[in-house]
């Protein structure tokens, strides 16, 4: 073997070792805090579920509000995702940028923006309060905060799921007698269905984990993330750990659902 070939192989080994070391370092940075949290608080957190009424109430409230926010995002966001996916949204680039904005601004700032727009002093907030949907210190506020920070994730993922379905399927359905809406319902919806469910799961998980925007709008009643923060500031790390660990365990559920959805066949791919 020539000297050049030996040097080349040595360089390749060094590069491969560097890649592996980098990956291990990153995985350790991501995994160690989670493992530490689960080891310190996991067992006691699950144990407290039976005895800690406040924790149970916070988890229930979190699940309820995240579900409502997700359903609202599906209802309002799916048609928008469709229009964006098919390039039929007027000023689509602007709308896309607007949807990205909530993902980029710090979430407490999002909470302040919501407070300005829908707080008691604002016309919209006053109108909502009149019909029993006061935003500050209420479930409505929690849902609104969750919707604001997590709905863009749903719309973005739903748009990708719909875009993966060949538009010509709808064209064929229309020549077979379907109206535009019926073609979408009978063809695009089932073909994009798995992706839409995955988008909803991502949104739900993000809504469950939201803290910054919610804490500005609604400290009480407490969702799980606010309860965790409340116990940390009021009683210290040990008191907050069980709540935090339960939240991590809860996050694993949508993760498993997502993985099972992604493992399935991608129906939306055009037939070959």
């Amino acid at each position: 073997m020539s000297d050049a070939a030996v040097r080349g192989r040595g360089t390749h080994r060094v590069a491969a070792a560097g890649v592996v070391a980098g990956a291990v370092l990153l995985l350790a940075l991501l995994g160690l805090p989670i493992v530490a949290l689960l080891l310190r608080g996991g067992v006691s957190g699950l144990g407290q579920l039976g005895s800690d009424r406040e924790l149970r109430a916070a988890l229930w409230l979190t699940a309820q509000t995240a579900t409502v926010a997700t359903l609202l995002a599906m209802l309002l966001g799916t048609p928008l995702a469709y229009l964006l996916a098919r390039g039929r949204m007027p000023a689509g680039a602007l709308v896309g940028a607007l949807l990205d904005l909530p993902l980029l601004i710090p979430h407490p700032v999002a909470g302040m923006a919501l407070l300005l727009a829908f707080g008691r002093a604002s016309p919209a907030g006053a109108a909502l309060a009149q019909i029993g949907l006061a935003v500050v210190g209420s479930r409505t506020g929690i849902v609104l905060a969750m919707l604001f920070v997590a709905a863009p994730l749903y719309v973005s993922a739903a748009r990708e799921a719909i875009a993966r379905v060949d538009e010509r399927y709808e064209s064929v359905a229309r020549t077979l007698g379907d109206s535009p809406v019926r073609a979408v319902w009978r063809v695009t919806r089932p073909l994009a269905g798995r992706g839409l469910v995955a988008a909803a799961v991502v949104m739900w998980a993000r809504a469950v984990s939201e803290f910054g925007a919610i804490v500005i709008l609604t400290y009480n009643p407490k969702v799980a993330s606010v309860l965790s923060y409340d116990r940390f500031t009021g009683e210290g790390l040990d008191a907050a750990l069980p709540v935090a660990a339960v939240l991590v365990i809860l996050a694993i559920v949508p993760l498993l659902v997502l993985r099972s959805l992604r493992a399935g066949t991608a129906l939306g791919e055009p037939a070959r």
Binding site: S171, T175, L176, D178, R272
Partner: protein, 249 residues
């Protein structure tokens, strides 16, 4: 009857420019043109799934330029079949049918009887095309648009399908537009051959075909008129390619 008048349409890089031709009821119009000449865009504009920028599409003596596809009574078969992958073959065939029993009987006649219970992912390319054809014919449209529907089938099946398509069209008095690259297929099936140029797409030639009917795979293809027309079309396409090559150089 199909009448396309000064049609302009655009789909991405494809552009139809001032395309005009007409077909009387029950006729076969064959569209010939090289890849990228906008043949599919033309069919989609006739079907109404793509909007015309200007010009008119008239079907059955009515201006349908602004009529949505579901109200045009036009069947379309795409080159890649585009069967709905979440449905079985039978569900595909019956999708737009007014009478599912007729759809199933038609599928059997086309040779897809044994495929009915299968998922579309289990089908070969040729089987997909046959099922797509059955699906398009099931609502009994009197206008059929076919985008290279026989490209994926073997030579023997292709010949049989050509005759079957001609038979069905005659039986149901269908007016058909068939896009193909195959000059032999074009001359064999045509009442009229429309040759399109490459981008922007314009009509280069509109040739009437007066070969006797019914056509026969042996007799028709040995007819001097068939051979003469075939020669004429191939010469025309060669001269178009030579012209395009000269322009590019």
């Amino acid at each position: 009857m199909i009448e396309v008048e000064s049609l302009h349409a655009r789909a991405g890089a494809f552009e139809l420019r001032d395309v005009s031709f007409s077909l009387p009821p029950g006729a076969w119009g064959i569209v010939l043109g090289s890849a990228g000449s906008g043949k599919t865009t033309l069919l989609e504009t006739i079907a109404g799934v793509r909007r015309a920028a200007s010009g008119r599409v008239r079907l059955r003596d009515s201006d349908v330029t602004l009529v949505p596809p579901e109200r045009r009574g036009v069947g379309i078969v795409y080159q890649h079949a585009l069967l709905f992958p979440h449905l079985t073959v039978e569900e595909n065939v019956c999708y737009g049918a007014h009478d599912p029993r007729y759809a199933v009987a038609l599928a059997r006649r086309l040779g897809a009887g044994e495929l009915l219970a299968r998922g579309v992912r289990e089908l070969s390319g040729g089987e997909r095309q046959i099922v797509a054809l059955a699906r398009a014919l099931a609502p009994q449209p009197d206008i059929l648009l076919l985008d290279e529907p026989l490209a994926a089938v073997d030579a023997q099946t292709r010949a049989e399908m050509q005759d079957l398509l001609l038979d069905l069209a005659k039986k149901y008095d269908q007016t058909c537009v068939l896009v193909t690259h195959d000059v032999d297929e074009a001359v064999y099936m045509a009442d009229r051959i429309v040759v399109l140029s490459k981008r922007p797409t314009t009509v280069v030639a509109d040739l009437p075909v007066s070969l006797p009917k019914p056509r026969d795979q042996l007799q028709t293809r040995e007819d001097p008129a068939y051979l003469g027309l075939r020669h004429k079309v191939i010469t025309l396409i060669r001269s178009m390619r030579a012209g395009a090559a000269t322009q590019e150089s």
